[in-house]
Structures are given as C-alpha cells and as structure tokens.
C-alpha cells in the first residue's frame, strides 16, 4: 500500500517544480564546488568484473563520512537529512538495510562481492542496533524505525512486526565503534520480508540519498530498466559510527552499494529487439563439423566468443562525468571506475573518452580510472575469440536449501552446506528465521556429514533456539557448526504446518507463504598454513515457498449465503413469536354462526346509534 501511495505521490510533482528543483541542486553544487566548506568526505567507485557464462558484475559503492558531532546537532552536509533524522529519532546507532532480487549463482560466478556482506536475502532484509533502556523500548523504537523507513524507501517495511523480528545471538556483530556507548544498551533486531518485490520505486529513494542523486558520477548508470533486468541485484545501505583510535574523534559513515549481475547477451539483444525472435538463418552459429550439417540442419555452437560490449551498450548510457563531491580533492587512492579481468583481456579494452588512468600498483588484472567533471566516460571490450575465461574466486561455502516431503500437514527442510576447501574446515553460524505457522520439531534437527566422518556427532557445537508463539513471534534457530574440509553437511529438520484463521490468509493464499532465506555467517578466521586472515563472510540461501492447507475460499462465500438464509428464517419465526399474542383454547369464546350474526347485528346497531 505504501508503494501505491508513493507512486501516486511522484506523479503529483509537476514538471515545473522538477525543473526548479534541478536548478536548485545545480546551484548548490556549483556553490559548493566553488568554495570548500564541506567537512564531509565522499567517495564513489564502480567495480566491473566479467563473470563466467557471459555475465558482468557491476558493483557500485558510495561512501560518505562526516563528524558525528555535526550529525548529532542535525547539521547534515552529505549525510541525507531524511535518513539522519529517522535514525536520531529512533536512537538507531547502526543500520543495515538490504534489498535483493534474484539469486547469486555461486557455482558459476564464484564468491559474492564484498564477502557477501552487502547482499541480503530475497526481498527486503534489515537489522539495526537500537539504543534503549530495555527490551520493550527497543521494540517500540524498532517499530517506529521500520515505519519511517517504509515511507522513505517505498517498501512494505512496516510489515516487519514482532512475528518477523528476531534477535540473532551469534550471527551478527556490530561493525561500528562504540567507545562511549554502553553496549548493554544496544539491542540488535533483525527482520526480513522475503516476499517484497524490489523495484524502481525502491531505487529512486535510494538514489536520492546520494549527494549527486544520480545526476552525475557513476550513479548515472543506474537506470531502473537495466538494474531490474539484471540476473541478480542487491542494494544495501549501511550506517555506522567509526572512531579513529588515534584522535578519538568519531565519524558517522553511510555506505550505499549496488551489486548487479548483467547477462551480457540478453542486454545486448534487448538493445536490438525487445523480443528474442528466432535468429535469421545466416546469423546462426552452426557446428559445420557435424556430418549432417547443411542449410536445414544446424547444431548450435555457443559460448565460442566473448561478445563485444561497452558500458553504454549494457547500461543504455555513458557516465556523464564525475560527481563533483567525489572528485573535489583527488588523492592518490582516488579511483572511480575499476575493472577486474585477466590481463590479456584488459589489453584489448578501449576507453571511449578521456579519463585519467589511476595507478593500480602492479596488479596486472586490474585497471582503474579517475573521472573528470563534465567529461562523459565509457569503456568497451571488443569481440574476443576464443573467449578468455574470467577470474573466479572460489567461495568458502556453497549453500542450498529446499523443502522435502509433500502434503498439507507436515514437511521438512534440507540444507546442504558444501565446503570446497580440501584442507581447512569452515566454522559457520546457521541462522533460520521461520514464520510462526511453520513449527519445526527440534528433535528432528540433525546434521549428516558426507563423506562419513568420525566427529559427526560434534558437527553442531552450539544451538540457540527460540520457539515460536502463535501469532506473536516466529521461530529463531541459530546453530554453530563445522563443515569438515571437502565434505558436505546436510542439515535436516521436520516441521508441522499450522492451520491459519480464515482472515489470516493473504489474497493470493494458494500461492504459498514465503520463508525467508537462511543466513550463513562465517566468522573471521585464519586459513591455510600461511594463516591468511579471511574476513567475515555471509551467504544467503534462496527463500522458500511454503504451501499451507488453504480453504476453498468460494466455500466461505456459500457459508455466508447459507448463514444469511438461516438468519432470515430465524428472524422471521422469532419475530412472529414475539408479536403474536398467545391465548389458551378454552379462553377463546366459541363463535358459531348464530353468534357471528349477532355480533354483526350488534355492530350495525352501534353504527346506527352513532
């Protein structure tokens, strides 16, 4: 409902007002770039990385810092005022908000960018550390935070109520610094909406939080049509306080990221024709080595070339120069656009407009550029034959979750965790947040290791379980477990499906109910003989669709009609009983023919006398 409201609201803005606001922004930008008064710093960076299977990962990162004192005094510079005021009002110290669509195909694409820290489960996911005196106050602040964010981002975040809120114990740790705050006053709350479809109306407010608001800099590439056609896309907002250990001063940091995986062939084809009609015969790439190869027979050959692409092909536009805030003080580290690809692929790359290459310090598979104000930027890769297999980083863990069994009464969940590393075990925290109508049997929660291994009983080292209360809160299940090297751990449990009340079903009851993704967190650890530190990584499984016993909703309709009929009948007879006067038979005077005539005569006489 909020979505609808937001959409209609946008339509209300008149074109003249838009032009005016644009002019105003321009004016502000011009004055700001003229004299350096901004204390906040702002960085933005676009990382491009071709993935296997003709995909391209584009990671946008926007980051701004500002002193926390100014923030507390409501002196917002680059920090978006709308968000800042919400955070202050609800005493939110750290906020993480995720919008995601599609699934990350780790088999094909490898590890997720940023160790999966920027990605959320399908739909909307949010967690925050709220400062409060007690649990009740925290809950109240969390509710008002979600309601406010719901309006800000045009998402149904207001539906994150107590049934969808959990308090993870092991999975999340604050990423900010809290030198002055008493950490026992910080409450972590987590909520997710797996059914929420992420779309353009969420992107627009997201872009509005940026200093350049999508008008210049790398954010100009963010067009709803392209973003939401991506095979995977994830938007995130993280707000946290950061303190310098040396000076003791604290900053508030807001980091916004967008990761999107574009299907290159589909994006390019869409440019030519929106409908993927069968290709013309001469456009087919056929395997001519087949004995039957002829005009009539075509054994298709695919993936034989790397398709040529450029930023403008894929995003429909070029980068229209750098964002003034991001190019204000160019430093050594400033990089705006970076591309990771094998060295010999990078060699063929061309930049269409002038942009200063940034130093990359001896990394042959990385190339970076610094954008200049008002100078559009584009880069392109020519056709490559034979194709160059792109860089791929093996993920720490593969996770997959599915339902087992069928029927309206019981079911099961099976999660397969695979550790591809041949030497090191991985310690993971598995977090599941289940709706209350899905009631797991904890005694059936089991871990099986394949191939079989001795310490199977010790795979799960810790278990935190918070059972559901009907219509009040969902189940929270958190387990710490170890996946031995080069093996698979299969977690299974059975559950029972509750029967909902008639009014609790959504309008599309037969679609099923979405169950949020399981969150798998791998805490920072040392790996291998060299003790390389692996930062904290998180992985989300896909969400699930749970079908519950659903009544035939035409039946209640019949029932209503029948009930109404019965009510009408009952009303009729009761009304009859109430208004009728009951007289005993012997009380009534016997009226025979004589009496009747006498009565009539009597009346007539009366009439005459009157």
């Amino acid at each position: 409902m909020t979505l609808l409201f937001a959409r209609s609201h946008q339509w209300l803005i008149s074109p003249s007002l838009k032009i005016f606001s644009r002019l105003l922004t321009l004016l502000i930008i011009l004055t700001l770039s003229g004299n350096v008064v901004v204390a906040d710093t702002y960085k933005e960076k676009l990382d491009l990385q071709p993935l296997s299977g003709q995909f391209l990962l584009a990671s946008f990162n926007f980051q701004s810092h500002g002193p926390i004192e100014a923030f507390n005094k409501q002196m917002f510079q680059l920090f978006p005022r709308s968000l800042g005021q919400i955070l202050q009002y609800t005493h939110t110290r750290e906020l993480h908000l995720r919008f995601a669509l599609g699934r990350w195909d780790s088999e094909l694409w490898g590890a997720q960018p940023g160790d999966g820290q920027n990605a959320g489960g399908t739909g909307v996911e949010t967690w925050a550390w709220v400062e409060a005196d007690n649990d009740v106050e925290a809950e109240a602040r969390w509710t008002s935070l979600n309601n406010a964010l719901s309006g800000l981002f045009c998402a149904s975040l207001n539906f994150i109520d107590s049934t969808r809120t959990i308090r993870p114990v092991m999975s999340f740790n604050p990423t900010g610094d809290y030198p002055t705050t008493n950490t026992s006053r910080l409450f972590l709350l987590h909520g997710s909406l797996p059914k929420e479809p992420v779309c353009t109306e969420n992107l627009t407010p997201f872009l509005k939080l940026l200093p350049c608001k999508g008008k210049s800099g790398i954010s100009t590439l963010l067009d709803g049509h392209k973003l939401f056609d991506a095979s995977f896309q994830s938007m995130s907002i993280d707000v946290r306080p950061i303190c310098s250990p040396h000076t003791g001063t604290c900053d508030i940091e807001i980091q916004q990221t967008i990761d999107m995986v574009l299907d290159i062939s589909r994006s390019l084809q869409r440019k030519d024709s929106p409908v993927p009609r069968p290709r013309d015969q001469h456009e087919l790439i056929c395997d001519t080595s087949k004995p039957y190869a002829s005009n009539e027979y075509c054994y298709p050959m695919d993936n034989s070339i790397d398709l040529p692409w450029s930023l403008s092909d894929l995003f429909g536009r070029t980068i229209s120069g750098g964002c003034p805030f991001a190019i204000k003080i160019p430093t050594e580290e400033t990089q705006h656009v970076c591309i990771h690809a094998p060295e010999n692929k990078l060699k063929t790359m061309e930049t269409l407009e002038l942009a200063a290459p940034a130093p990359t310090e001896g990394q042959p598979d990385l190339k970076c550029y610094v954008l200049r104000e008002n100078l559009p930027f584009d880069l392109s890769f020519p056709k490559q034959q034979p194709p160059i297999s792109p860089l791929r980083q093996e993920p720490l863990l593969y996770a997959e979750r599915s339902f087992t069994g069928h029927g309206q009464e019981h079911g099961g969940v099976k999660t397969v965790l695979r550790n591809p590393n041949p030497n090191d075990p991985v310690e993971v925290v598995y977090l599941e947040s289940l709706p209350w109508f899905m009631k797991p049997y904890l005694h059936t929660f089991k871990a099986q290791v394949l191939p079989a291994f001795d310490g199977e009983a010790d795979v799960i080292s810790e278990l935190y379980y918070r059972p559901a209360l009907d219509r009040k809160r969902g189940t929270q299940l958190e387990a710490k477990l170890v996946v031995p090297p080069n093996s698979v751990v299969i977690l299974t449990y059975d559950f029972e499906k509750a029967v909902l009340r008639y009014t609790e079903y959504p309008p599309d009851a037969n679609r099923g109910f979405d169950v949020a993704s399981a969150i798998i967190t791998i805490p920072p650890h040392r790996q291998g003989s060299d003790g390389k530190i692996i930062p904290a990584t998180s992985i989300r499984t896909t969400s699930l669709l749970l079908s519950l016993p659903t009544p035939d909703f035409s039946m209640p309709y019949n029932v209503i009609i029948f009930t109404s009929t019965i009510m009408a009948l009952a009303f009729g007879s009761i009304f009859n009983l109430l208004v009728r006067r009951f007289v005993a038979v012997d009380e009534v005077q016997r009226v025979d023919l004589k009496g009747k005539i006498r009565g009539l005569l009597g009346r007539l006489k009366k009439g005459k006398t009157e």
């Binding site: 299977g53 003709q54 599609g102 409908v275 993927p276 069968p278 013309d280 015969q281 679609r511």
Partner: protein, 620 residues
Amino acid sequence: MALRVPVNLRKNLSVVLYAFQGLSILAVIVGLASLFLLPLDEYSRRTYISENALLPGQVHAYFGGSEQNIVRAFRREVDLLGNSTSDVVAERMAEIFRSAGLKVGKQRYSYKAAGGEYTGENVYAVLHAPRGDATEAIVLCAPWRNIDHLLNEGGVALTLALSRYFKRWSLWSKDIIFLISSDARAGPQAWVDAYHDLHGENIQSLSVKSGAIQGVVVVDYPGAYHRFESLHILYDGINGQLPNLDLINTAVQISRDQMGLRTDLQEMWNHDDGYRHRLKTMLRGMVNQALGHSTGPHSSFIPYHIDAITLATHGDGGWHDEGSLGRTVESVFRSLNNLLEHFHQSFFFYLLMAPKRFVSIGTYLPAAMLLAVGLTLTAIRLWVDPRSRSGEAGVKVEEKEEKKGEKGEKGEKVKEGEVIAVNGGPKRELFLPMSIVIGVHFCGVIPFAVFNSVDYKSMSSVFYIFIAASVILPTLISILITLTASPHRLLPAFHLSRCFSLLFLGMFLSTLATLNFSLSFLIGLFSLPLMFARTTPDSVPLALVNSVLLQLTSPFAALFVVAGYWGLGVEDILKEASFGWWVWGMWTPIVVWCVWWPAWVVGRISVDSSIVMAVTGKRG
C-alpha cells in the same frame, strides 16, 4: 397413537422388505441410467478457463524459423544415440544442456517389481528464472522412450531446442526444468520422488533443485517422420487422480484456437461431438481412471498435487510439424508462467467427454453413489429381515412369512408370532457371520501379497492356482460351516454375513466414489449380482444360476476383461499391477483384493451354502 405406525409396520414387515428391495433396485437402475445421460447437452457443460491469470493464447508464440533447423539437428543427435545405454544418453544430453548454459543434474534409479528390474538414468537441466528466486518451477519433460517404448525423437529434440530458446527470454517468473526421463513409467516417478526427497534406496538424490513445481508438460513426439495430424492430450494420473481442468483447457484452447491443431482425448481420433463419441470418450476415461495406472510420464506427478499433462502427437499425414508443437508448448509455458498461484480455481474431479465438454463431480457423483446406496439398502433390508434372527421364534416367523408368500397376500392371519419375533425372544447371532466376513477380508491380504511378490514368469501359473483356490474356497467354507453349526443358526448366519459384507462394500464404495469415481462405479457394477446372491436352500437351480452369475462377475473375470480390452495376457496385467504397486504406489490392487474379492467370496459362500444345505439336508 404414536405406537400405531410401527406396530403396523411390524405386522406388515414384508412391505418394508419389499420397499427396500424395490428402492435398492431403483437406486441401481437410476444410477446406471444417469451415467448414460451425462453426455447429453443438458447434463454436461462446455469447458471454460477459471483462472484469469492464465490468459491462454493471448501471446504471440515465436518458435519456428531457424529454431527448426536446430530441432532437426538435435533430432539427428537423438537418432544417433537411439540404442545406446541410458548413461551414454544421459551424458550426451547433459553435455547439450550444459553448452546452453543450464545447470544440469543426473539421476540413476532402479526399481524391482514382479521379478524384473527397471533401471535407467534421468537427466535434467534447470533454467534459472532471471530475477527469480527459486521458489517456483515449471517442468518440460520428454521421455527418451515413450509409453509404447518408441524412441521419442521429436520430443527430446524439441525439449533440447526449447531449452536454448527459452533461455533467451527474460520474462520467466518461474524456473524451468527440462527433464529427459529414461523411460515413461519409472523414470518420472523416480525423479519426482527424489525431488521431494521421498525416494527409495536405489534411487539417487537430485543434485540440483529448484522451487515448488507448479505445472508439468510432457512432450511425446516419437518417430522419424516430422509431420503429424493432431495432438493427443493425456491427463489421467495414478490412482485416477486428475490434473486441474484449467491446465487441460489451456492446452486445448491454445492448440485448437491459437495453433489450429486438432486435439484428441482418450484415443478418440475422429470425435464428432455426438452422443456416442462423447459416451465412448467418457467410458475410456473412466476405465483409465479406474485402473489407476500411469498413462504417460505426467501421471507420476499428479499424486504430488502437481498438475501435469502429456501432449502426444498422433498420425503422420498432417501438415503440422515441430514448429507448431514448439509454439504450442511455448504458449502453454507462457500461460503457466503467468500463474500467480498454484492451480486451484477449476475442477479436480471431472469426466471429459470431448475436448471442450465435461461433467463435474456434482453431476456424475450420484451415479456411483446410487450403486453404493443400492448395496447398502440391500444390506439394511437383510438386517431388518426376520430371517437374520436365529432361534425358534424366528423360524416360526419365517415359516409364516413363506406361507404368506404362497398366498400372495398378507393379512389378518398373521398374528402374534411376528410381534414376538420383533419384540422379544430371538436375537441376531453376530459371532459367526462377523467372523466369516472379517476372516474373509483378512484373507484378501494373501492374493495382494502373493501377486506383488511373485515373478513375472510364474505369474500366470500362480494366477490359475489362485482362481482354482478361490473357486473352491467359498464352497469349502460353506461346507465347513454347514457341517459344524447347528441347523437353525445356519440360514441367519449366511444371511447376516451377506448383510455385513454388502454393508461394508456399500460404505466403502460410497467413500471411494468421492476419491476415484470410476473405480467405485466399475466395482459397484461388477458387484451388482451380489445383491441377489441369496441363500436359497429350497431352490438349487436358482442357486446354480446365481453361482454362475457370480463367477462371471468375479474379480478374475474382470481381469480377463481388462486383459482382453488391452489385448494382453492376464499375467501382463498382473505384472502391471505389481509394477504399479511398487513403483507408483497404485492402490487398485488393494481395492480389488482386500475389498472386492472378499465381498465376492462372501457372496459365493451364501450361494454355495444353499447347494450344500440342500445336499446335506440341513435346511435350518
């Protein structure tokens, strides 16, 4: 005043008995007749699409042109692999799917039934919906060999080509799974069992999975010849379960109205939409439903509440080719893709009599119910009948009743005896009849267990031994009882055992009618002679006639009829039943051996006992 009516009834009990008999016969006649009314326009309805989201035929289907060159090439590839083992086939298919950029999984399975081993390897590929989140999936399936063991060249080639073609579209909201099952009977079952993690030991788990399956379309396009005449839609599931009518309607509407393809049901190739053809289509559907067997790869999905149909090509003289079939499948998939919810709007219980004509459960159910009611009423009549009471008084009544029967007129002459019979003395003795009925029903487990564990080779000999045994068994039981029980208890015992047996059968059939109408109806039809299988120690010829009639409507006779209908040997039918039990979880054998056969045996016992009683002179 209040007592007047019952006393009258008691006096004229025979009126009640005749009324019951008349009613039960009437119920049966009306039931049978109502079935034959169904094909009439007044009783059947035109099909319609209930689920608005489906929008069948509202999109333009583009498959064709150069895609057909690819189909032809894949046809050649399939042809080259024609007689290879299933692992070679699976590997090659996996390679083709992988080159299209899909996630591929393979699954070996092995079933044992009727002494045979059924092995194979399924191969499937998952096309992830762009922007999708693996919550829902639709399946396009092509068995490597179809239900007639023909190489499904066109179907497999089309599936391979469509997998590439569908990948280019970005509009899919559900994952699409392309399944090439090793055969049409065991393969899909193994796959769908494993998809829900309910598979047995000799079946591999699936390595790649997707979300909840919303619909399945199977393509059966065998033979090297490209052209076909019409599309045969198969829809019967295991145990007579049916897919949602919307799915069939969608397929019919798309192929007929959008593609100009004729559609056929139940092998009725020249349907003129007249009464006879409608009736025949309906009866064929009912036979398939009653047998509860798999009619194609789609059947295995239906018990999982996954709506599935098979599109099989028919004839080779037409002008349709891969293009039309591909466009039909494309359009059906576009419709399935539109689904917002699981199929639920339309009917799950229906009888189709033409591609666009059906009757729903409300209209046809009375037919089977009335047959069951006929049996139940007969059972009630037997209970009310004073002959069910043993003891002296009871005998007196019966004699009097018989006298009355001779006179052909009931009247004042019948006096106190009856009132005594009802109000007082003789009670029904339940122990003997109960133990007969329960014992015989337990015996039903024996044929069920035997036929599900015997080898195919010895199947026919076991079957004939079993026929001989069940012909002799009722006679033996009746001899045993006649010789051991006291004479005055004999007749009531046989009477009551028939009563219980019919009551059980009637109740069971009326319950079954709500689940599998056709099976209930057909068993009810074959059990009708049981209504008349009386114990008549006075009339041996009648008993003999009854006995022959029962023999003709025995489960064995039905088996021979079914075997004749399919042109197979009885052992093949039994093998199919055994396979059905072990692979598909088909319940028909249980119903036949544990419900119908015992009822038949009890019927035979009461008929045979009259001969035995006549011979031994123990007439009760």
